[in-house]
């Protein structure tokens, strides 16, 4: 599958494996509907794009992120449909891709199990709810966490069409885009996304997202007025 994905995703761009793309995840896939993955490529200068993919998922790409004014970092949770490599691919300005990742052993069915909110039947009551917070880090960057309520339907569950968040952008007070991403239904139900965008304590951030039915989602928050987070996270 890797060769197929590599041809489709990267075309003629040069691709090489590079351990500086740190793809981090837990030692066990406790929940195949929601498996946390963090890609940290901050050790590589000039990253223009970060892609998160699971080779053997029926929806291989989870996130395609462009950190325009943001650090090369993204964390989220994905569905796993079987044992699969999970990879982070980062692109440099010259077009080259650097890739890393690892195998994850998982029980099957993360993409074909109905979302919890579909089973409960309350997904529509919470659609549009966004929780979030932003914390200052060193070097004028802020850690931004966003949790959306969304069923993220894959289309693989009986009689429920594909329905997922498909785009997200983070802007500063002046309307400048700090980062934007394409999102696929391989991202777990109730998407949780962590980014590191440019921003100092007190700076205002706005979030705009859209789902595949054209519904818009908006949020606003300010970077916490506190000293940089300890531990260099």
């Amino acid at each position: 599958m890797w060769q197929v994905h590599a041809r489709t995703l990267f075309g003629d761009d040069p691709v090489r494996f590079d351990p500086r793309v740190k793809v981090d995840f837990p030692m066990i896939a406790e929940n195949q509907r929601s498996f946390p993955v963090a890609i940290d490529a901050r050790a590589i200068p000039g990253v223009t794009r970060i892609m998160l993919l699971a080779d053997l998922n029926p929806i291989p790409i989870a996130i395609d992120y462009r950190p325009t004014h943001a650090a090369a970092y993204v964390a989220t949770r994905i569905k796993l449909d079987q044992r699969t490599p999970v990879r982070g691919a980062v692109q440099l300005a010259n077009g080259a891709w650097l890739v890393s990742g690892g195998w994850v052993d998982a029980a099957g069915g993360g993409c074909s199990a109905p979302p919890v909110s579909r089973v409960k039947g309350d997904w529509a009551d919470h659609l549009g709810e966004i929780r979030g917070e932003a914390w200052p880090m060193a070097d004028g960057v802020s850690r931004l966490r966003l949790n959306f309520r969304h069923p993220m339907d894959t289309g693989f569950v009986d009689n429920i069409a594909t329905y997922h968040l498909e785009a997200l952008a983070v802007k500063d007070a002046g309307g400048r885009t700090l980062g934007e991403m394409g999102i696929w239904a391989a991202v777990a139900e109730d998407p949780a996304i962590t980014l590191m965008v440019d921003g100092k304590p007190g700076d205002a951030l706005t979030i705009a997202a859209r789902d595949t039915n054209g519904r818009d989602y908006k949020a606003a928050l300010s970077v916490a007025r506190q000293s940089p987070m300890p531990g260099g996270r």
Binding site: I28, E30, R145, N147, I207
Partner: protein, 314 residues
């Protein structure tokens, strides 16, 4: 990955190799009280190497027959356990208590007549709803160890506070917190308390079905109950009777406080699973493994409770 002819041939050789039959379980009961034996589980995750035999099991000899406290992960385990137990006591098994719904404790019940298998009503209900999912997971992890193990439900619902086996009375406690229904058992003859998975000892507690507030309340009740030694669900026997309960309480308090702080500090789940584990838990097996599982179980609810709403209404 580039498939060379050699890797292809290697792969096919693996496919046509004869399926490996799992080895037999080694059941070695150790006497810990008058007419009471402990069969220790491996202090490890459920994996093919241990056949899923990770839970502690107890055997109690009574004038009316042999009583089993939990019966292990598979029919094969339970049959070996019964043979060992009946050899030890010279009496047939007349009762099997299933402490809670988790498969390492009770999947083996299919080896017994359901009429002698007893569990709390909440456990039977939960097994009816979720047992098949657990069974599927066990087959995936353990393969041949599980052969012939079907999901069965305990035939007796526990509603009484004690049961008398020809003069040896056993006290039954209906608690919860590790799961929605957790049975504990006190044997007044020896003073030994069988805690099930409400109590772990030098093996990190697992939280897939936990309600931490209820768990704390149950630990308080066990602590207050006069008893001597404690048999934890996992980990070594605690002869003093206080250390295992206190350690379990310490762990779940630390876990909840630490994950709460992780959400407040803006950590994602991956990062929360990598938080430092205090030195005082260094004796606990599978600590990092269980922290990462617990992040999966507990983090979304903490985020929903602690992160503020930031959406702008249309």
């Amino acid at each position: 990955m580039i498939l060379s002819r050699r890797t292809l041939i290697g792969g096919m050789a693996t496919l046509i190799a004869a399926p490996v039959r799992a080895a037999d379980y080694a059941i070695t009961p150790q006497a810990i009280g008058d007419g009471l034996w402990l069969v220790r589980g491996a202090d490890e995750p459920i994996e093919a190497g241990n056949g899923g035999a990770i839970a502690n099991i107890a055997i109690i000899a009574t004038p009316a027959g042999t009583v089993l406290w939990d019966c292990g992960p598979s029919v094969r385990y339970a049959r070996a356990l019964r043979q060992q137990a009946e050899q030890l006591t010279g009496k047939p098994v007349v009762r099997v208590y299933v402490s809670h719904l988790h498969p390492d404790h009770g999947m083996g019940l299919a080896a017994f007549d359901p009429a002698i298998v007893a569990a709390l009503p909440g456990t039977i209900e939960a097994l009816r709803a979720e047992g098949q999912g657990y069974a599927d997971g066990m087959y995936r992890l353990l393969g041949d160890w599980m052969r012939g193990t079907d999901l069965m439900l305990p035939g007796r619902s526990i509603s009484q506070a004690e049961e008398d086996f020809g003069g040896r009375r056993l006290t039954l406690l209906a608690l919860s917190g590790h799961s929605s229904a957790d049975l504990a058992l006190l044997d007044p003859q020896t003073g030994l308390l069988l805690g099930g998975d409400l109590v772990f000892h030098d093996r990190a507690p697992s939280t897939p079905t936990a309600d931490l507030a209820q768990w704390r309340a149950s630990l308080d009740r066990l602590k207050a109950l006069p008893h001597k030694g404690v048999v934890p669900g996992h980990g070594p026997f605690d002869p003093g009777g206080t250390a295992a309960i206190a350690q379990t309480r310490d762990w779940i308090d630390w876990l909840e406080a630490t994950l709460t702080q992780a959400v407040r500090d803006g950590l994602d789940m991956v990062e929360a699973g990598e938080v430092a584990i205090p030195d005082r838990f260094a004796t606990m097996a599978a600590a990092r493994y269980e922290v990462q599982r617990s992040v999966s179980h507990l983090y979304p609810a903490l985020e929903a409770a602690l992160l503020p709403r930031v959406d702008i209404p249309d």
